[in-house]
Amino acid sequence: MITIIDYNAGNIRSVQRACAEVGVQAIVTSDPAAVAGADKIIFPGVGAAPSAMAYLEKTGLDNALKNAFKSGIPILGICLGAQIMLENSEEGSQKCLGLVAGKTVRFSLKDKLLKIPHMGWNEVTVVQPHPLLDVIKAGDEFYFVHSYYPQPADKKNVYAVSGYGGDFCCALGNRNLFAMQFHPEKSGQLGLRILERFARWDGNAAIN
């Protein structure tokens, strides 16, 4: 059973439906107690980091997530759910969860033909093996829609990159936490296979 965190951002049902498609039951909740007792957690992403953080602090979900991370519960962040794992974001002055050292930055593109948001299908290149990414082959593409991206301070936290006016980190991890900037729930069968992997993941980042 997967617990999907509802932080009042709308359209998180798509992650629940994608879980159902791969045969995994998922509940949607904003109750910190339910998060504390979860087997696995997905933090889906839509919206802006500052308002999401404000909601997490107001409801006590911020501490529930930090404690879940400490106690080893596998956590998957998606899109905004990846950005919010870092220490802070250029989107606002609010502190983020800080489960990975680094910050979230806005695309700064020299090429005028490149548009913001970065929206559409783009290649994801694995730079460090991870059990959740072993389905990805060269040339595989995933669906993105974002104007900011995560920038971990230490390369050891970077697992995959994508290119848009230069390479940027699109998948990061730290122990039992893994997070991706793209949307596995909107990336067809390849994305569903990542969610399937997460449903079976024990939180160990090492490849067996």
């Binding site: 709308g10 159902a20 548009k115 948001p117 593409e141 829609v145 729930e185």
Partner: protein, 259 residues
């Protein structure tokens, strides 16, 4: 680098798939959800569902329809047709549509674009425009006019001006549908598409006129479109999505081929 997108449009009437020629003479050609699933498996990058009845009574049928699509399709899809309020847009978004398309209602009251963009985000707000060629006038210097109500009512509004205005108001993407090319299968209106794509900094989806793979190539290169929308060219089984994408790939266009 982003791939160019192949978008398939399904016109839906009372839960059935329809395809129009020159915007009249619509006929039903099958179950849209089964078709959508087929295109999904065949590698379409995005789907658009247009509710061509778009009556008030039909709203709940459409919400139900979108929920069903969202249970079966795991790529982005948008919904258009008869969206008149923020409430309509929010309901469709919550039912599982990644984006919503506004058209006639936005021409009648342009604030609708900013209201929807504010509620569900610019990236989810598409301005769809039906455009026909006219003789350039003082009011319509671009030589293109916006037409509403499913392409039957001229407005006297300049097409290029409206595209820029839509971007300013918060639309995150534009669908440029040529009424003259729609259903002809003679190719997209390249000049119109390029003129708009060069004048805005949001993605442009070219629509109307696709009959052969070359047409997609032309509009994605010469026409500067970010995405090419097709309908009958795949609905009647002449080409699959895979055929179209492999053709584009062979000619050097970056498209998503692994799925």
């Amino acid at each position: 680098m982003l791939s160019k997108r192949l978008v398939v449009c399904l016109d839906v009437r009372g839960g059935k798939l329809a395809k129009s020629i020159k915007f009249v003479d619509t006929k039903d050609i099958g179950d849209p959800i089964a078709k959508a699933r087929q295109y999904y498996e065949d590698g379409v990058d995005e789907l658009v569902f247009y509710d061509i009845t778009a009556s008030r009574e039909n709203r709940d049928i459409m919400i139900h329809f979108v929920e069903e699509v969202a249970r079966q399709i795991f790529i982005p899809f948008s919904v258009g047709g008869g969206i008149r309020s923020v409430e309509d847009a929010t309901k469709l978004r919550n039912a599982g549509a990644e984006k919503v398309n506004v058209n006639t209602a936005a021409v009648k009251r342009k604030e609708l674009i900013s209201e929807i963009a504010h509620a569900i985000g610019s990236q989810s707000t598409i301005l769809s425009m039906d455009i026909r060629k006219v003789d350039p006038t003082k009011e319509m210097p671009s030589g293109y006019e916006i037409v509403v109500n499913g392409g039957v009512t001229p407005t006297g509004i300049d097409g290029l001006w409206w595209a820029k205005e839509g971007e300013k108001l918060g639309a995150g993407e534009l669908v440029i549908n040529s009424i003259d090319a729609d259903g002809t299968r003679d190719g997209y209106e390249i000049n119109l598409t390029r003129m708009i794509a060069e004048s805005v900094s949001i993605p442009v989806i070219a629509s109307g006129g696709a009959g052969k793979p070359e047409h997609l190539y032309d509009v994605l290169t010469e026409g500067h479109a970010d995405a090419a929308l097709v309908a009958s060219v795949v609905h009647y089984g002449e080409y699959t999505c895979r055929d179209l994408k492999e053709y584009l790939h062979k000619r050097g266009i970056k498209v998503r081929l692994n799925y």
